[in-house]
Amino acid sequence: MDKQVLLTIKGLKIEGRSGDAWHPIVKGVDLTLNKGEVLGLIGESGAGKSTIGLAAMGFARDGCRISGGTIDFDGIDLRAAPEATRRGLRGKRIAYVAQSAAASFNPAHKLIDQYSEGPVIHGVMPREKAEADAIELYRRMQLPNPEEIGFRYPHQVSGGQLQRAMTAMAMACRPDLIIFDEPTTALDVTTQIEVLHAIRDIVEQFGTAAIYITHDLAVVAQMADRIKILLRGDEIEESDTRSMLAAPKEDYTKSLWAVRSFVRAEQPPATGTPVVSVRNVTAGYGAIDILKDISFDIHARRTVAVVGESGSGKSTAARVITGLLPPRQGQVLFNGKPLPPSFKSRSREELRQCQMIYQMADTALNPKLRLRELIGRPAEMYLGLKGKALETRINDLLTLIELEPAKYIDRLPGELSGGQKQRIGIARALAAEPKLIICDEVTSALDQIVQEGILKLLDRLQSELNLAYMFITHDLATVKSIADEVVVMQRGLVVERGPKSDLFAAPQQDYTNLLLSSVPEMDPDWLARLLAARGVRA
């Protein structure tokens, strides 16, 4: 390896402010990047990976400060250099691609104006030349109508296309280094493929070095030459991609690899009256139908996973069952009897039977109520528990979700971790002693190891309490581990439904196949193979 070193970071320390105290975010990380090389930064939330990425540009967000170490970019000491020097490098020699392109493009200006701003201000090329160049790059990023798309405003362009336009913008001054900060996290899996392909292509064409930040191991395996694993601001290990995947050294790394190992035991086909039966439901808002004639059943002790990309109508299906959105046509049967369409006309007993757990525990729990009231209220309302009996019940519920009652009962949600909050959401649902629990993306806001714990807990509770689960998710790994049956939705239609094993082994529909094959695998050659199979130039 006689490559030239581009970026050297030594002993980097970054602190963040809370109130008037500074606490460490990054605790002394080293990093070396050669010209033309792609380094993957992997870590869970709070690992400090974005902060390190920004520090590589000599930048710290408001409320953060770089407190130690050196950052050397091609011979320039970014910490010691004056702000004007740093500003001269940003966008010109070091560029940035943000997680949400939709939020990171200025809504007030056309894409091409935002593209040419960098080259013009940095004096790389005049405006006309920059615009011609933009169109060329848009073409290379395989954007539709490259001549015309730049003259649109951000809100007129789809998310996947914006992410590619942002990568093109980062390329505008032909930088030596690009920081990709979770560029595909906000995208659907089928869109993610296109963006990953385009990014890999362009980085290779121009020989640009890159730092690729993500929490998704399978994605980074496609993109990076080397991988560095971070945990709470510290480096765990670093090695080249193939050896990291083949033989992780540290326990933490191994645990990341093993995370998707939990698979629920296979269940015999369900019989008898389903707990919930959705019959030919058509529903929507205003004049638009979001659900078009959908039907599926959920049996006791079974988990039905409803899968689909954003906009497929899976959450709307849950709103129809809970009665938040009365259907236009069709009905929802509970134990064989039709439920009133709106929750307002349902009896307390009918409301009790169906409970919900939400994606964002932060917004699902009233931040001003203590756990005692959060969990106790349903038990008090539905089951008439009071005083001692209520106290005992709350303690039992906390024990059930593996939280120590004496320690937690008087806490506020803000005093809990993300995983603990989600457990409280589960306890609140259980307090009503329901037959059906609807889980709306309950694990997608959590780190992988925490997800594992929640899935195991839900599985155990299901067998102990005879529950039926409707599991809404876009994450097929979660489906693989917890579902018994799968309902695949696309644009308001049920595309396919059946037992999990059948569906994964032999999908009957093209869309199901596309969806399944688009989930990244932990194999560095997966993307190339997939693109070849789909007949795309790799």
């Binding site: 109130g19 008037d20 408001d62 409320g63 809970t322 009665g323 938040l324 929750f343 349902r346 307390r348 409301l351 919900m356 939400y358 964002m360 917004t363 699902a364 729990l365 009233n366 931040p367 001003k368 109520l369 009231e373 209220r377 349903p378 309302m381 539905y382 609140r428 009503a432």
Partner: protein, 304 residues
């Protein structure tokens, strides 16, 4: 020269009061509130000290005032000499005494009015946000239309019709101001109503009163308290303006707005006595605004 001198004395007083009150608050505050006062700006500690001073004066008015509220003591417009330290007014009443009683009357009436406006406006606003749909649309459109009549103008219209007694004054200003509180309470509640925990509570079958009391109010408290401060300032200034225009609190009740009006002629002779009640109004409003600004800043800072 006098301008410069008074500016310097004012600034010195501001810093002295601010620093002293901050030190006092820091040592007196209970342990779990200490962090709140540690990085309190000088403006806020100054504001708190001033508010406290006004409250004490208002409560103890009869005890500390040298003369009776409406007592006519001597010639009009006497200079600033003992025993009339701030001189006498147009009718020969002691200026200092009337300033002290003004704290009780003007501030008390403004406070009662704000409280009334608040209960009315915030309950209706939260209710509208929670119910949504037609009732909300109807009420909000109506309130919007009422708000299109500038507050002072609307108050003047209502005072013309109902006459100008203290009770009608309180009711009229409270009604006009409740529309503004309604707007804020509704928009704060709308931000809360979309939260999943409200959906969960609704699906649980909770009634309206429980939703307002347990689920929304605790989460709306911070912005509502800050708004209370701002509204108080607004109401206080409105009442003072009306009194100044001769349409608010009437003599012989001591009130700062009408005291400015009665003695305004002195200004043209270069006498600053009429500015004292005006300054008393300004000082309290500044103090409240400083404290509210600090609280708003804290609330927004905690979110980041």
């Amino acid at each position: 020269m006098t301008v410069l001198l008074s500016l310097i004395i004012g600034l010195a007083l501001f810093f002295a009061i601010g620093i002293a009150s901050r030190a006092a608050l820091r040592s007196a505050a209970p342990a779990h509130h200490k962090p709140m006062f540690r990085d309190m700006p000088l403006t806020a500690s100054f504001g708190l000290a001033v508010i406290l001073f006004y409250v004490v004066v208002a409560i103890l008015a009869p005890a500390i005032a040298p003369f009776g509220e409406g007592e006519v003591l001597g010639a009009q417009y006497l200079p600033w000499e003992s025993p009339y330290y701030l001189g006498t007014d147009k009718l020969g009443r002691d200026m200092l005494t009337r300033l002290i009683y003004g704290a009780r009357n003007t501030v008390g009436i403004a406070f009662a009015t704000t409280a009334l406006a608040f209960v009315l406006g915030s309950l209706l606003g939260i209710w509208a946000a929670l119910v949504g749909g037609k009732p909300d649309q109807f009420l909000s459109r109506f309130v919007d239309a009422l708000m299109a009549i500038p507050a002072l103008i609307f108050s003047l219209l209502l005072l013309t019709i109902f006459g100008t007694s203290v009770l009608t004054l309180i009711l009229v200003i409270a009604a006009v101001d409740a529309t503004r509180v309604y707007r804020l309470a509704r928009s704060v509640a709308q931000g809360i109503v979309v939260m999943d925990y409200i959906e969960a509570a609704r699906l649980r079958g909770e009634g309206m009163w429980h939703l307002i009391r347990r689920e929304i109010l605790p989460n709306a408290m911070a912005p509502l308290v800050a708004e209370f401060g701002l509204r108080f300032c607004f109401v206080f200034l409105s009442i003072s303006a009306l009194s100044f225009l001769g349409l608010g609190i009437k003599p012989p009740t001591a009130d700062w707005g009408s005291m400015v009006r009665e003695n305004a002629t002195l200004i043209t002779f270069g006498d600053i006595t009429p500015l004292l009640p005006a300054g008393a109004i300004a000082l309290l409003t500044v103090a409240v605004n400083f404290v509210v600004d600090w609280q708003l800043h804290r609330a927004s800072g905690l979110k980041e």
